[in-house]
Symmetry: C2
Subunit: 222 residues, 2 copies
DNA sequence: AATAGAAGTTTGAGGAATCAAAGAAGGGGG
DNA sequence: CCCCCTTCTTTGATTCCTCAAACTTCTATT
């Protein structure tokens, strides 16, 4: 049986793998992402391997099989549709839906999920701008540029806010840093580790490098 | 921690207790309702007793404490609001929502639940006519009369369909036996174990005693 | 009263997920 | 080239929920 623990591990392996798609994911990375001790991760990975969801090289690392990746994308689809549903239909704040979706993603049936998808008009992205995999396990991988690496004097639009921490999301919202908002980069100060942008409503915001990395933009499409 | 297993047991104890509120609920009844062997029920009831959710008399039976009853009502509220939400907002059929709600009732937070409640305009009953407990644990106990005991030649209205079996619910729907529908009793045949009713759309339906027991009516309020 | 049967309890065991702590591997720095 | 430190694996235990099967208690019926 696919327990919700298995779903959580597989989803996390997928997300961690995205960070560095070329090499095997080390045990330690997985263990800390899952907030378990390394021994627990080793034990769990063995059962995932027995179920054919990951390829496991002892002392080398792990990688999702095709089946594992399909499962991960399915869980991710549930998670992201739920987040959007909670925001758009039930009116929750975008800063609090991640936690809710973390539980609900294991409880909604496909039938319910597809009803939500329909009601939301088959959305492409969740409230944070993360792409929603299709029911068939397709995911659109768009190349986005972190604000920290963005070229000055170019019109751009916020596409994604890559952090689920409610406190950061509340900060972002308060400062108008939400997907769909247009902006242009005013300047960058390497020594100060900062970037300054002007939003479409003419408000100016300065962010440190850490924060600027989490705001992903795309060249404005006008 | 209150696991979903505990929630399911407590809810089931509450429902079984309603069938015969005067006496203690015997272990065997609980075990078969939960579809576990008697030993499992005994073990679980001990932990419920340790948590202060039930009073347990070995070899006598069990009864919910006040705390246990509050928990049961809370779970029941989640279950029934979810059922209504699934029917009214997502458009699922009333015959299939019980199963869905059985899982979701353990996954939705109070915050999400109260948003659903608001969106549904603080409903009093679920799609099957079962009363929805309030957030404070109040439940309206209405005296309803099973069709099998109803007096002839009186106008009445279907208030509840007391069965969750999808097949029965589909049958009921097909025959117009759903909450809110008016009817009058045409006749009863004790030897045939049957009752015949005329619905408000002038269709006539004959039910055996078993089925007639599940259709609960109230005197028409005109 | 004696006892057969039903109902309930106990015991022993197993699967899932976890942790603590001990042990093994192996890749640099000396 | 070796040993040391980090990373990983193994082992032994625990909690939760479950079953099978043996055992106990109580009731009812002769
Ligand atoms: Mn999320
Ligand atoms: Mn989750
Ligand atoms: Mn139900
Ligand atoms: Mn349930």
């Amino acid at each position: 049986m696919i327990t919700s623990t298995v779903e959580n591990y597989v989803k996390q392996i997928y997300l961690q793998q995205q960070e560095d798609p070329t090499s095997l994911l080390p045990m330690g990375k997985l263990a800390s992402a899952m907030k378990v001790v390394p021994g627990t991760a080793t034990a769990m990975v063995k059962t995932l391997s027995d179920s054919g969801l990951v390829d496991y090289e002892p002392r080398g690392g792990i990688r999702l099989t095709h089946g594992g990746e399909q499962l991960a994308l399915h869980v991710l689809r549930r998670h992201r549709i739920l987040e959007l549903f909670l925001v758009d239909v039930l009116g929750l704040d975008w800063s609090e839906v991640h936690e809710e979706a973390e539980t609900l993603e294991h409880a909604v049936s496909d039938k319910v999920l597809e009803r939500m998808d329909k009601l939301l008009n088959h959305p492409q992205v969740d409230p944070h701008g993360d792409p929603i995999p299709t029911a068939k396990g397709q995911i659109r991988k768009v190349r986005l540029i972190p604000l920290s690496e963005f070229a000055p004097d170019t019109a751009a639009e916020i596409a994604r806010v890559a952090d689920q921490d409610p406190a950061f999301l509340q900060f972002a919202e308060k400062n108008g840093l939400i997907p769909g908002v247009g902006l242009s980069l005013l300047g960058r100060d390497v020594h100060a580790d900062s970037v300054t942008v002007r939003l479409e409503n003419d408000v100016t915001v300065t962010l440190g490098g850490k924060a600027a990395e989490k705001i992903l933009v795309r060249a404005a499409t006008e």
